[in-house]
């Protein structure tokens, strides 16, 4: 990873207990998981710690309302299941798909265009960093990393721009880089949501549906860029309306955009 934290010398290893208790911020969670992927000892320690948390869960077990379980079983009958993970990751196919109807696709060619776009986004991203979206983290390192990641996508040699209408109104714009397996998502003119609801971004494809985060509240009708990575071949980008705080599984998408293969 290009990103290196400054002034944070402590070892992610020490986070194992806090991680097992979910007593970490999203940032710490990410950091520990990255460490976990490379640390055999952590994985086996975490296994032990997690069994202890299962004990803590058992201590507060309580009979759920009878109709709740019936309802869940009924919903499960019409809920599609995820396929298992199958070992090695597929490579991106070389074949290029045509964009879905109603989708505009532009290759970002000139250096000037890319530069201008990147500049504008950087400003937008900085606004995000200083403002609402990341205030929970209060972590400049992360903010800087995100700004950097967004610019990285915009300036990638294979950056592709896709725009599409959103079913409920407004436009969504995606800039994606196959090389970086990452994208930046922005919207304009989405209807404001009433009540405790939010827009949630998803990557949907053969690897299953993965949340790519919540859209920040719009300013002047536009939402600041959301950065998402971990794109897989065959992924679509989806946008849904969910209860505030987001959902674990997507409801019916108001936008489905096929990503350039």
């Amino acid at each position: 990873m290009r990103w290196r934290r400054r002034a944070r010398p402590h070892n992610p290893h020490t986070l194992a207990g806090a991680y097992a208790l979910d007593a970490v911020t999203a940032t710490d969670r990410m950091r520990f998981e990255r460490h976990l992927a490379r640390c055999q000892a952590c994985a086996s320690e975490l296994r032990e710690l997690t069994e202890a948390t299962a004990g803590l869960a058992g201590a507060v077990a309580a009979e759920p309302p009878a109709d709740l379980i019936q309802r869940i079983i009924a919903v499960s009958a019409r809920t599609r299941q995820l396929p298992p993970h199958v070992g090695q990751e597929r490579r991106w196919p070389v074949r290029r798909h045509l964009p879905a109807p109603g989708t505009r696709r532009v290759r970002l060619v000139t250096r000037r265009a890319v530069g201008a776009f990147a500049g504008a986004t950087f400003v937008a991203a900085s606004v995000v960093s200083g403002g609402v979206a990341l205030n929970a983290e209060r972590d400049l390192g992360v903010a800087q990393w995100r700004d950097h990641a967004i610019v990285q996508v915009f300036t990638a040699p294979d950056a592709v721009l896709l725009t599409s209408q959103v079913r409920v109104g407004g436009t969504a714009t995606v800039v994606m880089s196959r090389r970086d397996r990452a994208l930046v998502f922005m919207t304009a003119g989405l209807p404001a949501l009433t009540g405790a609801r939010c827009y949630q971004l998803w990557l949907m494809g053969p690897r299953g549906d993965r949340s790519a985060g919540l859209l920040p509240p719009p300013r002047n009708g536009m939402t600041s860029p959301v950065f998402a990575r971990g794109l897989s071949p065959g992924d679509w980008v989806g946008l849904t309306v969910e209860p505030a705080g987001g959902a674990g599984t997507p409801s019916t998408p108001i936008l489905m955009l096929k990503l350039a293969a």
Binding site: G17, A18, A52, A57, A59, T79, A136, A244, G248, T249
Partner: protein, 183 residues
Amino acid sequence: MGETRDGSLEGLLNQVSRGDQAAFEAVCARTGPVVFGVVRAVVRDPFQTEEVAQEVLLEVWRAASRFESGKGSALAWVTTIAHRRAIDRVRAEQRAANRQIRAASHAIAYDDVVEAVQARLDRERVQRCLRCLTRLQRESVTLAYYGGYTFREVARLLGVPEGTVKTRMRDGLIRLRDCLGGE
């Protein structure tokens, strides 16, 4: 059929991953109380508790094929999903609420949590094991797990350095695990 009734939770999840509705009912019967309990402990609000518990069990249905027995027990897999979903829910709400008000009233919040948590710890075995921990270990672990606080917040609440809390959480869990496993 007999396998469904008597099978381990691991075996049941395996059947669920192939779309076996009866196996899923068995999984719900077995894990429903612990899922509901842990979500309620963290989320508190009855309506939201049901909502999150439903999300959790549906996630178990959807993702049963992703359960890897090499990475831990089936029960731990389910409770981990439940706890994380519950935490995500309260954190999202917290972000929306005013964090400053929260910070100002942390002393009250702490008493509140400890009292509520103690009242709910009705399972004697875990309670006995929790008593084997040092006070700081116990408070760090219970505030994080049932109270939904991050280790930084726990450090603030207890007035100890963050590094200390991280260590106490880890040591506390190890001791808890040894105690639970040894009985």
